[in-house]
């Protein structure tokens, strides 16, 4: 699979991948008793990031990590969502799945999609 720099850059994911990741996130939140962030733009950004990685790399690699080699990380599977820390300890540093004691937690397990834009450096 190609990872030309432009494919990792300033565009959004396909609608198909975004919808697949949104459905996954909603189902997984309900299954684990976790909630989305009180600010829906944060949740939307993360789902967009997961969907973009799914389009570009074939797997929803966590968008809140830096990887020297994204393709190698996908094969390694540790940071493919839901990542190992989430599955083992409900730890999501990307703020997608929040436990009820998190200061940023909201009360929703379904996404209210808001418009988010790619942030330029």
């Amino acid at each position: 699979m190609s990872t030309a720099p432009e494919s990792l850059g300033n565009s959004k994911s396909s609608d198909k991948s975004f919808e697949a990741m949104r459905k996954f996130a909603e189902t997984y939140a309900k299954r684990t008793g976790t909630y989305f962030c009180a600010d829906p733009s944060i949740t939307t950004v993360v789902i967009e990031g997961l969907a973009k990685h799914k389009d570009d790399l074939g797997a929803p690699l966590c968008p809140c990590r830096y990887y020297e080699d994204k393709e190698a990380e996908v094969k390694n599977t540790y940071w493919n969502c839901p990542c190992v820390p989430m599955r083992e300890r409900k730890e999501c540093h990307c703020m997608l799945f929040l436990t009820s004691d998190n200061p940023f937690v909201g009360d929703k397990q379904e996404l209210e999609v808001v418009e988010v834009s790619y942030e330029q450096a």
Binding site: L8, G9, N10, C37, D39, S41, I42, T43, V45, V46, E48, G49, K52, P63, C64, R65, Y66, E68, H93, C94, M95, L96, F104, Y118, E119, Q120, A121
Partner: protein, 109 residues
């Protein structure tokens, strides 16, 4: 995103390493939720420490050289540089007080 000045792999030496005052670098990525949370806080820090601390941001997707050199893993990561050396770092969407305390500690030294 933060209104902080963007630095790159090629400008890092001049903008961060050679700076006369301490520099706070916000390592971020475009589709990272907590990066957007911390960006707001970083802007407040920039105003609060204007003239004492320079605040910049680095897009890790576009600048893998510096991100790799400093061993960035989880993002957002905020890293404080003083005299060209990395002196501290904080990871995640931390409260403003955590960042301020980190800066104060090193300004006092």
């Amino acid at each position: 995103m933060s209104s902080a000045v963007a630095v790159t792999d090629s400008s890092f030496e001049q903008d961060v390493i050679s700076s006369d005052i301490p520099v706070l670098v916000d390592f971020w990525a475009p589709w990272c939720g907590p990066c957007r949370v911390v960006a707001t806080v970083v802007d407040e820090i920039a105003s609060q420490y204007e003239g004492k601390v320079k605040v910049v941001k680095l897009n890790t997707d576009e600048n893998p050289g510096i991100a790799t050199q400093y061993g960035i893993r989880s993002i957002p990561t905020l890293m404080l540089f003083k005299g060209g050396q990395k002196v501290d770092s904080v990871v995640g969407a931390v409260p403003k007080t955590t960042i301020a305390n980190t800066i104060e500690k090193h300004l006092a030294e």
